[in-house]
């Protein structure tokens, strides 16, 4: 059973928490996590979908030269053909072209949404969890209130106040995502704060900011990353929902949900107008969900699955 190697006395590897803060096992933990992630076929598939999505968004003008929003009423509602592989919509525009450019719109929206969520939610969560007391209490009541509504409805309500259009879409969905981040980060901070090494650091007099940066932040990273991946998918879904209802991104900007909404009227004779944009939404969201799930399995040490 031996491997031929001699074992000499040696200290346990990894997991040693020095006063520097970050447990030295983190590096190898990430690498192990990455390996585990790459083994997960579904996660890899998700990653491919996302990659495809991003490539399409970035290289849109190359993939489809020309303006996807220019109407051409002579060619309206055509079935898929060689010239227009996914057919044309009610204004004669290439659906393929609109989907390609739509990926840009979706990507920008989801990046915007996630940024709003992170930039507002994470610091608030850190403060709430770390300092506790009155600040925490008030923030938590506000979060309760925001979470009292299902996410989409909250975004909808915000749109009702702010109005339609791409910017308001980003803000509304972003704000609806903030309480999720706050709760997530706060929960993490609370559990990390209990750890003995944090208590030790506080006892030694380490300034708060450094404690947060060195001890708490690395541990909060993982759930944030997972949530962000899932959040990108949710953002696409919500934005599409708002677009579908006509209160999201406004025409002529190509947005998948809006395309679905306007294509709805034609499903009896030209179902392709609604089918393909929806498929695009599905694949993009699926990609983020698969990846997010895979990340959670790979990086969460407590994951028993």
């Amino acid at each position: 059973m031996g491997s031929g190697k001699e074992k000499t006395a040696k200290l346990p590897e990894g997991g040693r928490s020095s006063s520097e803060g970050i447990p030295s096992g983190t590096q190898s933990q990430f690498r192990k996590g990455l390996a585990k992630l790459l083994r997960n076929k579904m996660a890899v598939f998700g990653g491919i979908l996302i990659l495809g999505y991003m490539v399409t968004a970035i290289f849109a003008p190359i993939l489809y030269p020309g303006n996807p929003s220019t109407p051409n009423l002579m060619r309206s509602l055509e079935r898929p053909s060689w010239e227009h592989p996914l057919g044309t919509d009610e204004l004669g525009r290439s659906i393929l072209g609109r989907i390609i450019y739509g990926s840009r719109v979706s990507l920008m929206i989801s990046l915007g949404v996630v940024s709003v969520g992170l930039l507002i939610g994470v610091p608030l969560g850190l403060i709430s969890g770390y300092y506790g007391g009155k600040v925490d209490f008030i923030l938590q009541r506000i979060t309760d209130m925001l979470l009292a509504f299902p996410g989409f409805l909250l975004a909808l309500a915000l749109v009702a106040i702010l109005g339609v259009g791409i910017n308001n879409t980003v803000i509304s969905i972003g704000i609806s995502m903030v309480p999720i981040y706050i709760r997530l980060v706060r929960g993490c901070v609370l559990s990390v704060r209990e750890q003995v090494y944090v208590e030790a650091a506080i006892a030694v007099g380490t300034p708060d900011l450094r404690i947060i940066r060195r001890h708490i932040l690395p541990n909060v990273m993982v759930p944030i990353i997972v949530q962000t991946s899932l959040g990108m998918g949710t953002a696409i879904l919500f934005a599409a929902g708002l677009g579908f209802l006509g209160i999201g991104v406004q025409p002529p900007t190509p947005e998948w949900g809006a395309m679905l909404g306007s294509g709805r009227g034609y499903i009896f004779n030209s179902p392709h107008v609604a089918t393909f944009p929806g498929l695009a939404i599905f694949l993009a969201v699926l990609g983020f969900n698969l990846l997010g799930d895979g990340l959670r399995d790979a990086l969460d040490p407590r994951s028993k699955i």
Binding site: M42, R141, I142, D144, M145, A148, F149, P150, F152, L153, L156, A157, V159, A160, I161, G233, L237, A240, G241, F244, L245, G246, I247, G257, L260, R264, I267, F268, P271, A274, T275, G278, L279, I281, F282, V285, L286, N289, L290, D293, K304, I305
Partner: protein, 306 residues
């Protein structure tokens, strides 16, 4: 248990106050004269003046708020700017429809999702587990409105066996329910699976097996009972969500429910209706959460001894 109930009821008060504040502020945050906004395009000058008095717009802000609260308390939500009918009446007409949809969808979702999750957890990493997991991931990624439209294409347009929208017979209920349930089934199946897996790895399951109990008993009497607790919470929250999230499904199937009402109101800038609908939704959601918490406390002995 009674103590817990009372405490929970009390804790909903801040949230209720918060929502009322939100609505109050919301109205005044809009550009323009709130009375005009509430009255809508079609109101006469007398109506506008009436609303102005009702809101107490000439009076200090705390009196305005007091008036607002007192009207809310008797559920006087004003009149719809669009139809001029009382808001409450419009809501009342539609709420049962949404309720019907939400209830059937949740029931369907539980009937399929929970057993699927259990089976997947009991046989992890086998084909059936991968099947359940994949389907679940697909289900939560699927845009509800797209699924609805696709189902209409298949069943209404092509096969012509089910209606594309509206309400009336049991046939009208099928497609919207399936559409609405799709996300929930997936979610519940996943939650059940992970909850069961978590429970099955606990020490007391090993203890149960060491006593010689049949595996069926271990799974149902020991594991499932524990696993169901977080699932109850999830189901409850999903139900609450469905009451509100049915917006998209109702739009696709022209289902006359609360969701449609909200969207139409937003598009028509019918602020009294928007306010009223948000309030009612908030109340319902809080109520559902409360009930879920109480069930949770009743089922889990660790809590009501707090």
């Amino acid at each position: 248990m009674l103590q817990y109930t009372i405490r929970r009821l009390i804790s909903t008060i801040p949230v209720l106050i918060g929502i009322s504040l939100l609505l109050f502020v919301m109205l005044r945050a809009l550009p323009g004269d709130p009375a005009l906004v509430l009255a809508g395009q079609m109101a006469s000058p007398e109506d506008i003046e009436l609303i102005r008095v009702q809101l107490g717009l000439n009076q200090p802000i705390h009196i305005q708020y007091a008036k607002f609260i007192s009207r809310l308390a008797v559920l006087d939500l004003g009149r719809s700017a669009r139809t001029q009918n009382p808001v409450l009446e419009e809501i009342w007409a539609r709420l049962p429809n949404t309720f019907l949809l939400a209830t059937t969808a949740i029931t369907l979702a539980c009937l399929i999702g929970i057993p699927a999750g259990i089976i997947a957890a009991v046989r992890p990493y086998t084909k059936i587990d991968y099947l359940v997991t994949s389907f679940s991931l697909f289900g939560i990624s699927m845009p509800v409105f797209w699924l609805g439209l696709m189902l209409v294409v298949v069943f209404s347009v092509t096969l012509q066996i089910l209606p594309a929208g509206g309400i009336g017979t049991w046939k009208h209920v099928v497609l919207p329910t399936v559409t609405l349930a799709s996300f929930v089934v997936a979610f519940i199946a996943r939650m059940t699976r992970s909850s069961m897996l978590e429970v099955l790895s606990q020490d007391y399951i090993t203890t149960a097996r060491s006593k010689g109990l049949m595996e069926k008993v271990v799974i149902i009497k020991h594991a499932l009972r524990n696993a169901l607790i977080p699932i109850i919470t999830v189901v409850g929250l999903q139900f609450g969500s469905l009451l509100g999230g049915a917006v998209l499904t109702e739009t696709v199937f022209a289902w006359p429910g609360m969701g449609r009402l909200i969207v139409d109101s937003i598009l028509a800038r019918d602020y009294p209706m928007i306010q009223g609908a948000i309030l009612i939704f908030g109340l319902l959601y809080i109520l559902v959460n409360l009930i879920v918490d109480l069930i949770y406390a009743w089922v889990d002995p660790r809590i009501h001894y707090d």
